[in-house]
């Protein structure tokens, strides 16, 4: 099984967005507070649609919210030469 994971900045972004609560964010994107908690803790990887909705709620691009951490990072183009 792959150890790659999805990290996120939702907690930081919530506080930067005027101390937005988990419930407020959940209401904005149409999920339960438990789902936001699970995503924040990295226990649940949201669908692409929900990920975009969360980014849209903060008014930032998707990559500012979620970061992909691969198990084996791809080699840089320079190392292939």
């Amino acid at each position: 099984m792959s150890n790659a994971r999805l990290s996120n900045n939702i907690r930081r972004l919530r506080f930067e967005k005027g101390e937005m609560t988990q419930q407020q964010l959940a209401d904005l994107v149409g999920v339960t507070r438990q789902t936001i908690i699970a995503i924040e803790q990295g226990k649940y990887s949201p669908s692409l649609l929900l990920a975009f909705q969360i980014a849209n709620a903060f008014g930032v691009p998707l990559e500012a919210v979620f970061q992909y951490e691969p198990e084996n990072p791809a080699p840089s183009p320079n190392s292939l030469i």
Partner: protein
Amino acid sequence: MTRLEKKAWGNLGGMLICVIIAGPGLAIMVHLNTTGTVGLASFLISGLIVGLISYRRNIKSWAKFDEREQKIAARANALSSCVFILFLYCASFVVFFVVGAKNPVPAYFLPAMFVSGLFLMIFVQSAVILIQFAQERHDE
């Protein structure tokens, strides 16, 4: 408590009520050695009504669940379906070997086996949903 948890508790409660109501009814029918089309028709109609109501309720409530809840429910559905099939498999083969290959079994055994399997399936489904939510809460 989320909607899915409430639904799981509701299913467990509903199941208990069904056992309380239908259990003695079935026992009476077995005692009276019920036969005939009237009994069969009333049984089929009541089953159809309960089936349609639960189907409509499921369709309506499924739309209200968010994607994580739908994944939890799908996992519980898959596991409970496996348990149902395994139960029917075991029940039919246990009888085959206990009673003997050429001996008759009472007619009430088949519906009793099927209904018991259904109850077991709903119980497992609800329990798996509640366990998953309890685990999440424990990890928080």
